[in-house]
């Protein structure tokens, strides 16, 4: 296998031509999003440069505390991103449920994946721990966002049916069962869909990265298969936890429906 071609700063700048093309299209057509596109491009560049330097430092000075700190920051940012998307729509209990579900769902799968499937040593090896945690947490963030969206919509749009079920003597759990099931399905669907298209429609980013850096495609594929299952597990576990704990926040102690 060939070694990866090192990119110089100049070569990276050459890639900016694509941003210029988009800016030109937006300007000519009068879409008026130039500022947003420019800021997003610059922001991404700066964030990644910073992340690159931080990762170099962490890889050169591996420490369990540093790895755990990075994971904590990633989890916090993911929870913050989800909560920000649903501002004024969630009660305090539901916010706590989201944080707990994301934390338990991703960390349980991550620990199993790293220590039992890949068997990294030392257990906090940042070269494995951080990027894989990033993939688990990132995908879970999408799943949880969809889950929260559909649960809120379900409880609001199907309020009459939930109330009718309660009136007929249902427990809050059975009154919300169909909403919880359809929400779970909708939240894990993007992960399932990406599994279906993988290898045919597209080559996943991690696998592409490994192949570019000289890893045998067969090894890269083995990693990709294992990681996709890990991601599926993390998304599914986090979402079902969020739903099983979250639906309760829509009911009070008297089993009456309370919508935020």
């Amino acid at each position: 296998m060939k070694e990866i071609i090192d990119l110089t700063a100049f070569q990276v700048v050459l890639a900016y031509i694509f941003v210029l093309i988009v800016l030109a299209i937006v300007r000519i057509r009068g879409i008026g999003r130039e500022k947003e596109i420019f800021i997003s491009s610059v922001r991404m560049t700066l964030q990644l440069i910073l992340a690159g330097y931080i990762l170099v430092y962490i890889f050169n000075n591996p420490s369990p505390w540093l790895t755990l700190l990075v994971i904590l920051l990633m989890e916090s940012f993911a929870v913050y991103t989800v909560l920000k998307r649903f501002i004024n729509q969630l009660n305090r209990c539901f916010k706590i449920v989201i944080a707990i579900s994301m934390g338990i769902g991703t960390l349980t799968c991550l620990i199993y994946f790293l220590l039992i499937v890949i068997r990294i040593s030392p257990w906090y090896d940042p070269q494995y721990f951080i990027p894989i945690a990033g993939m688990f947490i990132g995908n879970t963030m999408t799943g949880i966002s969809l889950g929260v969206k559909f649960l809120l919509e379900g409880m609001t749009n199907q309020r009459a049916l939930v109330e009718e079920a309660l009136i007929l003597g249902a427990t809050p759990q059975s009154a919300s069962k169909s909403i919880i099931n359809s929400t779970f399905e909708a939240a894990i669907m993007p992960t399932i869909n990406s599994m279906v298209g993988m290898g045919i429609v597209f080559l996943p980013g991690m696998m592409t990265g490994q192949i570019l850096s000289g890893t045998l495609p067969t090894t890269a594929i083995a990693y990709q298969i294992a990681i996709m299952f890990g991601i599926l597990g993390a998304v599914a576990l986090s979402v079902i936890l969020m739903l099983q704990l979250g639906y309760r926040t829509f009911f009070n102690q008297e089993s009456q429906l309370i919508l935020p």
């Binding site: 109330e163 079920a165 309660l166 007929l168 003597g169 059975s174 009154a175 089993s255 009456q256």
Partner: protein, 215 residues
């Protein structure tokens, strides 16, 4: 007189303020009053879909706030004025209450008898979305009858029915309640129905007072 429900200084937000009210066991009580006077709120308080802001409601002399809401709703079941229909067929909607309460599902013969009682001339496999408002209301009544609770709370059970059907349905329900020695609390707008079928009439005016009159 045996009270099944007793209100003691019950207030609910600024909608209802009832210092006292009694509902008798094994009797048919009608709640009368103008729109917005708090009749539906009263029914929802009786089956714990709402809880009083202050005051106490006693159910068989036990403070309702100490009784589990779900088991209470299984004894004291309400038919709302605009009952929601679940996706599926007439059969699905008839048995939904039993399913939600994990009770055994009767065979089609029993279900067809219920359809006859509620004068719904449709088959069990008919999808519910094709039913009219009145038919849906009767179907919802049918599923409450199948649950066979101790206390029936019916919120304008005949509001979407024509006069002739209204008479038949109310007669059927009141007969059923008397035969099985149950309790019925019914909200109605019709003085004629109230006078003809109930043992006691409670008039709620502006949610502020209740006047009881035994028939």
């Amino acid at each position: 007189m045996q009270a099944v429900f007793e209100f003691i200084d019950v207030k609910f937000k600024n909608i209802l303020d009832l210092p006292e009210m009694l509902i008798e066991r094994n009797k048919i009580t009608t709640l009368l009053g103008p729109s917005g006077s708090g009749k539906t709120t009263t029914l929802r308080l009786l089956n714990k879909m709402l809880s009083p802001t202050s005051g106490r409601i006693l159910f068989n002399n036990i403070d309702l706030s100490t009784i589990n809401s779900i088991s209470h709703r299984r004894q004291v079941t309400m038919l709302s004025q605009n009952p929601a229909m679940f996706a599926g067929t007439i059969r699905d909607n008839l048995i939904i209450g039993l399913k939600l309460q994990s009770k055994p599902i009767p065979d089609d013969h029993v279900l067809n008898t219920v359809l006859e009682h509620i004068k719904l001339e449709k088959t069990l496999d008919n999808p519910v979305q094709n039913l009219s408002g009145g038919e849906k209301q009767r179907l919802a009544l049918g599923r409450v009858l199948l649950l066979d609770p101790e206390v029936y709370l019916l919120d304008e059970p005949s509001s979407a029915l024509d006069d002739a059907t209204e008479e038949i349905i109310i007669a059927m329900v009141t007969n059923h309640v008397r035969e099985k020695e149950k309790t019925l609390v019914m909200v109605t707008h019709s003085h004629v129905i109230a006078e003809k079928y109930s043992d006691a009439i409670i008039t709620i005016a502006n949610g502020r007072c209740s006047i009881r009159r035994d028939n």
